[in-house]
Amino acid sequence: MAYVDDYPDASKLVRACFGVSFVALGLGGFFGLIQALHRTNVFRGFVSSADYYTVLTGHGVLLVLVFTTFFIAGLFTWATTHSLERDVPSLTLGWTWFAMMLVGTALAATAILAGFVPSIDMSADVLFTFYAPLQAHPIFYIGAALIIVGSWIAGYTYFKNLWGWRQDNPGERIPLRTFMVVTTMLMWYISTIGVAIEVVVFLIPWSLGLISQVDPLITRTLFWYFGHPVVYFWLMPAYLVWYTVLPKLSGGRLFSDPLARVVFVLFLLLSTPVGFHHQYLDPGIPEGFKFIAMTNTMFLLLPSLLTAFTVVASMEHGARQNGGTGRFGWLGSLPWDNPAFSGSALAGLMFAAGGFSGMINAGMNINYLIHNTLWVPGHFHLTVGTAFALTAMAISYWLVPQITGKRLQFRGLALVQPYLWFFGMTLMSNAMHRAGLAGVPRRTAEPQYGSVDFSGVVGGMTEMRIQIAIGGTLLFVSLLLFLVVMAGTWMAERGRGQLTVNGVIPPALSGPEHSPRIIDNYRVWVAIAIGLIIIAYGPPMFDLVADGLLEPGSPAFPA
């Protein structure tokens, strides 16, 4: 029996979420292609350089807000229902949060896309960070708020399912996948409060003209309070896949369930009190608080380093079950011809590279060399752009057949897709990192200036430009292959032969019984997480608001 038969309600929701996320991925990816060709001056015929920023806003919002949030909502619905063995508690509630997120997406997308049409007096050319005092149309902020509130309600349904399970299974340990979902959502609740206050208290009233000014530093700080944990909101679902599905696809099982739990608890504790590391260069924030954020950030490396160990160890275990031998020879015994495996494994490998450039970003002093240069998008295209996105695509090859009951179509295309992504991203990201070291800024339509001479530290500027353009094009081709496979599978007929995937996840080598029970007591961890946030954010926030919530205030500048 496939998942779709056992959990019909959840399957409907997961399908709807994945459907929206794939549309957002396609459109956002197309915008990415336009940018790669435009800023490298290979082809500037799609849009004017002024409209480049409309494209850039669309790329950011559609990919890091819409694609991610919908995909994660679907993935978590699958993970909780499947590991608790209970269908969603209420389909009505499910459609409620889905509809909220969908309406939010439609509002935000309308505001952004209207920027292409001069005759419509509406735009949101504010990029996905929407720093005040550049101002977007109110429906942009309202849309963003609806997506987040919708995700809160989705989170409530995961908890509701867990509470129901607990009544039926008193004293049992929370199943690993549900534990991961719960810790991720708790972190999400804590961190989205920042952006919710920013948008609801400040930006929406300001864009409606109810208040005349906002303090750009306060709104930025609230954004970044949310802006770093959000990257863990993207990564932790990828970790969920790497910990629970990837070992099985490798032919084995997870190495250690207790350490997987410890890793997720560490993320819950440390993801939020680090936001000032995005503001190392901000005036108005004392150095000491930047230092505290840096220390927390560096310790946030620990759960990722632990993950690297456990995931590789689990893959090796699987490879040896398949008959692999030797110190490195076992690598050859992994199922590299299974795109669900190869995509997840390549995403993990790229994340290791992204982790290293992230360590540079985190270094408070060296950060000044690369802040707001092309290095930064070079970095996060390895993390959210590959660790998350490629894992999401890879796991779809495994999950979409289960939620539709249909065999994966166009297997040949699916086979090459992850490798093409990996190759394209290698070209694009390495060149972006090096161009950043040369000082080439990010977020610009035409990074060539009469008065500025960029000289490459390693390699020449032309070579980097060409690598970015070719890499971006290959990524888009890879994305199209993925969408063709998904569309083909979705529209295929049901019941033609057996599914070639099975959804059974074997228990870990070292099970939850080897970890102390307190690990499952998430109330304790939430209390500590809030304590750390008060230390990191309390005094500087107090200073920022001491001279008035809206002071020093800026009026709006239309974007």
């Binding site: 920023y53 207790p258 005036p283 009469g450 008065s451 960029f454």
Partner: protein, 168 residues
């Protein structure tokens, strides 16, 4: 809780790496005196930058032997001074930059160096920079500031000490 021997080693190496990173940054700050942009530039009313004593006529002035102050206003889509006239400072000098914005958020980056700050309306970014040798540097705004963002750039000319005849 069981932890595999290899994993314990890995964990120890990871913690060592983290502590090492924090130690190097601490050494950079305490030992080498690498300063961060801080809150000591103070605040300013962003709607009245042109009336401010320091920013109404921005530019470079000498405040001591080999010591200079440069006040710069960033606005859509130029640096004042910097874009239409270069910022001129002598070699072998220490220049304290004060940068603020009269409209939206900008960036101020001397290309290829770690002289880099956010320029946030309402705040004054303060940075001390040492210029040793004569040469020309490019400046770019590296934070999106509106439809003409990609045109916002400027120049710093570090001139030989003997040729210096005052700032922009």
């Amino acid at each position: 809780m069981e932890i595999h021997r290899f994993e314990k080693l890995w964990l120890a190496a990871g913690i060592l790496l983290i502590v090492g990173f924090i130690a190097t940054v601490t050494y950079g700050a305490v030992g080498e005196g690498v300063a961060m942009v801080n809150d000591d530039g103070g605040t300013i009313d962003p709607t009245k930058v042109s009336e401010d004593a320091n920013f109404s006529d921005p530019g470079v002035e000498q405040v001591g032997p080999h010591e200079y102050e440069a006040h710069i206003v960033a606005q859509q889509f130029l640096f004042k001074p910097g874009t239409s006239t270069p910022i001129r400072v002598p070699a072998n000098s220490t220049v304290t930059f004060y940068v603020t914005s009269s409209d939206v958020v900008h960036g101020f980056n001397i290309v290829g160096t770690n002289v880099n700050t956010m320029v946030i309306p309402g705040q004054v970014a303060k940075m001390k920079v040492r210029f040793e040798e004569p040469r020309e540097y490019g400046i770019v705004c590296n934070e999106y500031c509106g439809a003409g963002h990609h045109t916002m750039a400027g120049t710093i000319e570090v001139v030989p000490e003997d040729d210096y005849e005052g700032g922009a």
